[in-house]
Amino acid sequence: MKINLKIIGSAFVSATSKCEDLQEKVLVKKMMLRRRLTRSSRIAIYLASEVDYSSQKIVFGTAYGEVTATADIIESIYNKTLISPTAFQNSVHNTPVSYLSMISENMGEVTTVSDLFDTSLSVLKTGAIKALKGEQILLLNVDAFNFKFIEEMNRCGVSKLESGVALMVEVTQEEANIFIENEKYSDISPSLWQMLEIFNSAKKLENPIVEVEI
């Protein structure tokens, strides 16, 4: 089946090592909370603000999850040293959108998918199905993997170690003008490619509408 999604808002951010100017002090007023945010959480919160997020449902995608926290834990296990409780509570894949729900005081549905290089397609398919109920949905796709073992793990040669895309969407019966062609972006994690392709196409269109095939 095919579902057409109108792109109401879109945002993208990426950096070789660390995304700067994510406006954490503006977006996250509580200092203690701000200090606990993971890199992916900071990017997710920033991207949400860029598409005027208020309290919509969220479908979040990440291929690698919270690799910094995960690496800290496994190193502690290997070295038999104390595990940081903060690292563990920040280690699950839904961490960024959990923080986003807290900051936005959103008690609605928030879910997370992870399918390695197909992650952004999974975000789009999941979001399209959930959007059939007639609500706007925030689609978020973030991967931040600038961690201590990245040189051992980075076999794709991705140069942008932090990147994220946000699309605010709703179902439409209008004809699509964006069709996913699986473009490749060698500097960005493949887990974001389809979402990034839509972001790039949407920028050039007055009324961007993407066709999602499920």
Binding site: F88, N94, T111
Partner: protein, 373 residues
Amino acid sequence: MSKTKDIYIQQMGASCCAGLNRDEIFDSLLKSKSGIKKHEGFLIDGTLSAIGKIDSFKSFETLMFEQVDEVLNNSSLANFSDTFLVVGTSVGGMSWSEDQFIQSGGSCVGIDLNRQSIYSISHTLNQKYNFKDSITFSTACTSSSNAIVFAKELLEAGACEHVLVVGADSISLTTVNGFNALGVLSSEPSTPFDSDRTGMNVAEGVGVLLLGNTPSDIRLLGVGCSSDAHNITHPHPEGNGAKLAIQNALDDAGIEANVIDYINAHGTGTIANDSAEGRAIVSLFPHAPLVGSTKSITGHTLGACGAIELVISAMALKKGLVPQNFQLKNPEILELNLAQKNHSVEMEFALSNAFAFGGNNVSIVLQKVYDEN
């Protein structure tokens, strides 16, 4: 049999420390045979940990395939070209990558992303069965519950004929030591909802459900999701997020709270979870349906618990039996109708809860469909 727009459980299976199949698990629940045992070699401080490790010489992957094989073999499906795979897991291939890291002396060089990542389970299953498509949900302890929610949405949208939901999580050093760092691991089998409860037991397990529109005796009636928007690990003390998820599930099911006969609680055995969930249940269900947590027998199977406990809830409805709460001696919330013995009771509606880190909440309503003849 003719198909309807309603969604039914077509086949189901489960495996965990309490039993290698769904009948063994349900029998353990009725006989109070806990699968929680003390194990060496998991906690880095060298102490024993009370966890739910499956007692088998087979690998976790083999045990998972056995459950999936059984469910698919018992179905009438000739192939899986119109069956969508939806996986729920919180750790994926974590235990495998832990082994690689430790055996290689602290190096990630040998780690294969197809085996390490959350995606590893769907990757493995797809290689064997060639499903129409697959998506993996990873929302910590609600992973497979969110997978079930999405399965219902896929079928309602008419995106496929069937959905296979697989909830699977194996024991990993990260989860055992992580929960220990949070100070919520019990050194004995957990005693959910008891005033003297001492925490939870990390466990492993697999739950498998084939969902579709062909009528069966168990209908997937309603699903509800919510967020606490409160704290990254602690639930809202009044269970506000839990209440919202339950109410959303009841609304989706189109039923009132007072028809629920049995609640399979998330009931982890931690102070914070049981207190919040108990308050939510008391406030929404003044008619005091039977409430039980099965985690003192199965352990907390993390991302798999939603699927496993939905299988248990379906079996309770099928058999008309609510298992007792193992070793419950001093209920903390007296208004909760906690089953203190096995109850044989005719039931129509059951609710199953799952709650996770970050205040991610899912509730699911099942209906027993009685033969009109």
